[in-house]
């Protein structure tokens, strides 16, 4: 999980450690709808997974993304 947070934080251009598993989309300034798409793309590319389209809008925390990765 720690490594995953680091990976997400880098994409979100946040300092390492500032992003927690439960941090929500609203709390992060750079996390807009375009960033959401990028996160989906980067996570899928890196971990070789596929997140269904109708699930994407529900992924509002790193934790929720992580569920697809582990």
């Amino acid at each position: 999980m720690e490594e995953f947070l680091k990976f997400m934080a880098e994409i979100l251009e946040m300092d390492e450690g500032a992003l927690k598993a439960g941090t929500t989309q609203e709390e992060v300034e750079t996390w807009d709808s375009l960033m959401q798409l990028r996160l989906v793309g980067e996570v899928e590319a890196k971990y070789g997974v596929m997140i269904p389209m109708d699930e994407i809008s529900k992924l509002t925390t790193p934790e929720a993304f992580y569920a697809y990765v582990k």
Partner: protein, 555 residues
């Protein structure tokens, strides 16, 4: 670099991928690139992008089109917008993409033909545009998509989620390509490719195997070396100077050039051939002196790791190419060498003529050694200098020379076409160009003199000259002619400056030599002045010997 990406689809994600290395200005919205092109938008204009990138998604662009007439009209319209973009942002380097069109995008029974025809039609439009606007160039988007495959490139999920046509991986590929192209925009071109011979241009050893025994031509390895030579010859045709640094007896090398029927490269393709037993870095150092070039203009290719290491240690400015472990990779490596070190966006006729001119320069030097006095030598060259003001046709050359001349460049003032136009039109500037020819040939436009007047004073903004004509006192003759013209026009005082750079030491004392008095210095810049009546009376050899003619009797 300051850049901005325009598109007819949502590629805002690229901004995020590129902003680590580049400053990216995000435009208002992807549908609005045409509006942005048609009138100069203040925000973007204030940002003053060095590069504007227009990425066109072909399928989206042509989605309404069902018949050939439709897509032609749409592409014609797009071409007009791109032209407006070039006109409205003339200070920016503009990259416009090629388009990929999937067959299903164009309906009808021959849709595959239609898709190809549309993409090719746009290629034609781009050629016309880049011919018309010197600041507009092609970005090879379609090649990129073809290389990676449409299946990997396009993403219908991203498309439906956010009007983003491409997959995340493809966006990274695209960002990498943009980085690569931008890198080339900033990088300085090298000029000379120095080649080893044995096991580089052919297999085997010249001194042992001889013209019959070396591996060249035919199949297998012989074909590899021949293709390698073809790649190198192509570079030479594109304006790269070739040289040889080989540990061999010169006669063994000459024999191979003359007797092996499979040689693609000829002796005359090389600006210098050093086949001897001296250390290679010594040879390269000599070449740099002979060709009047800095060591950072050289690229070195050798199959021998020890030679490469020695070059790196002794001449760190020289670029050393990693030699492929697998011989079959050699031609491809040469292509990459061209891309990496020599490629430029536009070649001028001057570039193509360069090898010939450098060879002539060598002949002149040989003659110099034989001639009795320097003045006799100068006279024997029969140098003719033509002075003329810059015209629209000469603009491209003027800017090219201004931006690549490092040694003989007193103020190293760089300008692009737009800045130069502004200098000429709004800042009362004059640009005098000098064309130099002699009995060996024409060197083309090789010197530039920029000045503006202020009352009865003329202020020299820059004086620069190609290293091809250095060491012949051409500058003396050019300056004397300009000085006389200025004084005859009522100018009573000429002001000039020398601004020090890492490379322009050769002209450090130029103004003193021309009889100027130093009036002040500030950091790396020294100011000079020459009053009418105080100019040097005695003419130098260059002034006496060279013939100077003005294109216009007066202006």
């Amino acid at each position: 670099m300051r850049i901005s990406i325009l598109s007819n689809v949502n590629l805002d994600m690229l901004d995020g991928l590129l902003k680590k290395e580049h400053e990216v200005y995000r435009t208002s919205g992807y549908g609005e690139w045409a509006a942005l092109a048609l009138r100069r938008e203040q925000g973007l204009a204030d940002f003053a992008p060095e590069c504007l990138l227009l990425l066109l998604e072909g399928n989206e662009l042509l989605k309404q089109c069902t018949e050939e007439g439709d897509w032609r009209a749409e592409l014609d319209r797009t071409k007009e917008y791109a032209a407006k973009l070039a006109e409205n942002y003339p200070d920016s380097f503009l990259l416009v993409s090629t388009i990929d069109v999937r067959p299903e995008c164009i309906r009808g029974k021959d849709s595959a033909d239609g898709a190809l025809a549309a993409a090719a039609y746009w290629d034609g439009a781009l050629s016309q545009l880049s011919g018309r606007y010197p600041n507009l160039h092609r970005f090879e988007l379609r090649s990129l998509i073809e290389e990676h495959g449409r299946k990997a490139f396009y993403s219908s999920r991203f498309w439906y989620l956010g009007s983003v046509p491409y997959d995340m991986r493809a966006l990274h590929v695209l960002a990498d390509e943009i980085r690569r192209v931008l890198g080339k925009l900033c990088c300085v071109r090298r000029k000379v490719l120095v080649l080893d011979l044995d096991n580089t241009l052919w297999g085997g050893v010249a001194g042992e195997d001889g013209p019959e025994g070396i591996v060249l031509g035919g199949d297998h390895e012989g074909a590899v070396y021949q293709d390698t030579q073809r790649e190198i010859r192509r570079m030479q045709r594109q304006g790269v100077l070739l040289a040889i640094a080989s540990k061999n007896n010169p006669e063994d090398v000459t024999k191979i050039f003359r007797e092996n029927p499979h040689m693609v490269l000829r002796e005359e393709d090389f600006a210098a051939i050093c086949a001897n037993w001296e250390p290679k870095h010594e040879n390269v150092r000599k070449m740099a002196e002979e060709l009047n070039l800095g060591l950072d203009a050289f690229v070195f290719v050798d199959d021998n790791e020890a030679e490469r290491a020695a070059m790196r240690i002794h001449l760190p400015e020289v670029a050393v190419v990693e030699f492929p472990a697998e011989t079959a990779e050699l031609p491809e490596r040469m292509r990459r060498v061209y891309e990496e070190y020599f490629w430029s966006f536009k070649l001028t006729e001057e570039d193509r003529e360069k090898t010939r001119q450098y060879r002539e320069e060598k002949q002149r030097r040989d003659e110099r050694a034989a001639a009795a006095s320097y003045e006799d030598y100068l006279r024997s060259l029969e140098t003719k200098i033509r002075l003329a003001r810059v015209t629209p046709e000469r603009m491209e050359r003027a800017v090219q020379l201004m931006n690549k001349t490092n040694q003989f460049n007193v103020c190293t003032l760089r300008m692009d076409v737009t800045q130069l136009n502004r200098y000429l039109a709004e800042e009362n500037g004059q640009l005098i160009m000098a064309e130099v020819s002699d009995k060996y040939g024409n060197s083309g436009w090789v010197a530039e003199f920029l000045y503006h007047t202020q009352g009865s004073a003329a202020i020299i903004d820059n004086f620069l000259m190609s290293c091809r004509v250095m060491g012949r006192m051409v500058e003396d003759a050019v300056f004397a002619a300009v000085r006389e013209r200025l004084f005859s026009q009522g100018i009573t005082e000429i002001r000039a400056a020398y601004r020090k750079t890492a490379k322009n030491k050769p002209v450090e004392r130029l103004w003193e030599q021309f009889g100027f008095a130093e009036t002040g210095a500030d950091g790396e810049c020294r100011q000079y002045r020459l009053l009418r009546g105080e100019e040097r009376r005695e003419k130098t050899d260059g002034e006496r010997v060279h013939t100077v003619v003005w294109e216009e009797a007066e202006f």
